[in-house]
Amino acid sequence: MKEKTYVSDIDRSIYDIRNEEKDVYQVKEGLTPAIVEQISKEKKDPAWMEEFRLEALQIYNSMKVPDWGPSIEGLDIDHIVTYVKPNTKMSADWSEVPQDIKETFERLGIPQAERKSLAGVGAQYDSELVYHNVKEEVAAQGVIYTDLESAMHGEYADMIRRHFMKLVTPHDHKFAALHGAVWSGGSFVYVPAGVKVSIPLQSYFRLNAKGAGQFEHTLIILEENSSLHFIEGCSAPKYNVANLHAGCVELFVGKNAKLRYSTIENWSKNMYNLNTKRAQVEEGGTIEWVSGSFGSHVSCLYPMSILKGRGARMEFTGITFAGKGQNLDTGAKVVHSAPETSSYINTKSISKDGGASTFRSSVVITKEAEHSKASVSCQSLMLDAISRSDTIPAMDIRNGNSDVGHEAKIGRISDKAVFYLMSRGISEADARAMIVSGFAENVSKELPLEYAVEMNNLIRLEMKGSIG
């Protein structure tokens, strides 16, 4: 029998419905100080933010494109529209959201999810939030969940100024500088000391405009002994020109606080996803990352955790699924800078149909971080002979009493296992899907239920095209 590992492209019909661009306002493509000033004016920035943007633009112009990782030659920033304002204002009432935008989010299951199982929802369409709402009982606990723009003018203005791009500075890399110059949208979450938010908050980012960039900024601050689960989802319809996503996520986890940050990224395959995420964890605090990367043409995504206080912990669970024409370069970074800190990185990657997935990890244990523990495990599954999978681990250990482990495995679907399942009456396509779902199981069980179901459906759809 022939090699039967061809799987068809994913059915993206729900994601691919484009809306007509009825935005009231777009800046010209490209990037100049005038454009940045224009964005700043349009967004009614405070003076410090306008300055910050212009400075970031200068940094952007002085920095080189990173000389490692997947090629981003197809991305011409001079032709990316950095700011697209939808034809609506942000609302806390779903009925006020324009019909076409509303339908888009309804297809993606956003308001339904809110009714069922979320404490609050934010929905961003192109460059601006169109909807933001938080349940009364959560707001009553003092939890703030709003868009960053309005938060910048209110009670939390000072807090934002003290935290905004302090963890990821514009000097970090070229796309962080770009983000600093043109960022728009995103969420601000503040959880006061001792408050445990028992149901998740969710933001959903949708990029509809062709040839545009999305640069949302997510800032989450958890005070002592608080806890939160935050979910972000992203998607876009496919165009034949490049779109860019260069968002930024900054997470401040206070003493003994616990934050879980889950992401399901399903961008269309013309997207350059150059996203930067970072968390800083104080004494006894915990950051848990759950990350599913399915979409985009090119992704560079390596959430970083800085374990700053004694006993701080991080856990990273990730899955990457690279199909035809995709180059997904993902991973995680951790810096242990205090004693008795621990990190646990566990990732799975699947590549098929010529897709390339690369896993990068960086573990740094400083001299001060005595008696720390780090474990990195990475497993890859290649569904055919034309796909690629690479693992690039880096470790820098500066003391002699920490415990560090690394394990990497690359494999293929075993024909023998497929035959075994088939010998019980299961079709070849189902047998393969079961093996792939099983491979991803320890990640899918970490996802919120509806996303776990979606991920399994995604795998099932991918495998459906198998030649039986």
Partner: protein
Amino acid sequence: MTQQILKVSKLTAQTEETEILHGVDLEIGKGETHVLMGPNGAGKSTLGYVLMGNPEYHITAGTIYFKGKDLTSETADQRAKAGMFLSFQEPLEVPGLSLESFLRSALEQRRGGHIRYLDFQKELKAAMEILQMDASYAKRSLNVGFSGGEKKKAEILQLLMLKPDLAILDETDSGLDVDAVRLVSQGIKTYQKNQAGALLIITHSTRILESLPVDQTHVMIDGKIAVTGDGTLVERINESGYEQFSAE
């Protein structure tokens, strides 16, 4: 004669390079127990695989009729749905796929429809009790971290649940301790009794046969059935080995 379940005629099969089966003839009637013996490398396991439709082997001549239907070119899943079962000598491990969810999918294929969760659980519990399998195995990844004996029990559990018309047991007794052999035999007897299931038992030892009445014994030498006899043939082999059947 009883109703025929399996009829294999002049079956020739090969891997990429080598022909292994050189014209096998075999007939099994409903509810009959057949034993297949033979020296190492004679092609016994290959016959099991070829009957079940393992794509590593190519059938170059001959036919396989199962319950009167020509299954020679059907895929393994179709054969299973028709009521054929192979207990693997080395069952495969599938991480992340629980034994129970796998078994439920397989059962739905076999019965051709949705099975209520509670009904399934009841049936599963009863079958696991026969084999004295701890209930926790149902939740564990299929065969992952199972001992040799547990894997074989899990095979017989699948046999009991899927209720095929013909079960091919490839060295199911090898590597088992006395207690496990007793439980596995118990499971096989339950299968025989409940659906008058036919058996083709590939074995080296006679331990598993002690409690099972044998209808026919076949000796395979060099990819062919060299001799067929009744249950007493097993004793003859035990006394004087396979040499006596070699053509040369």
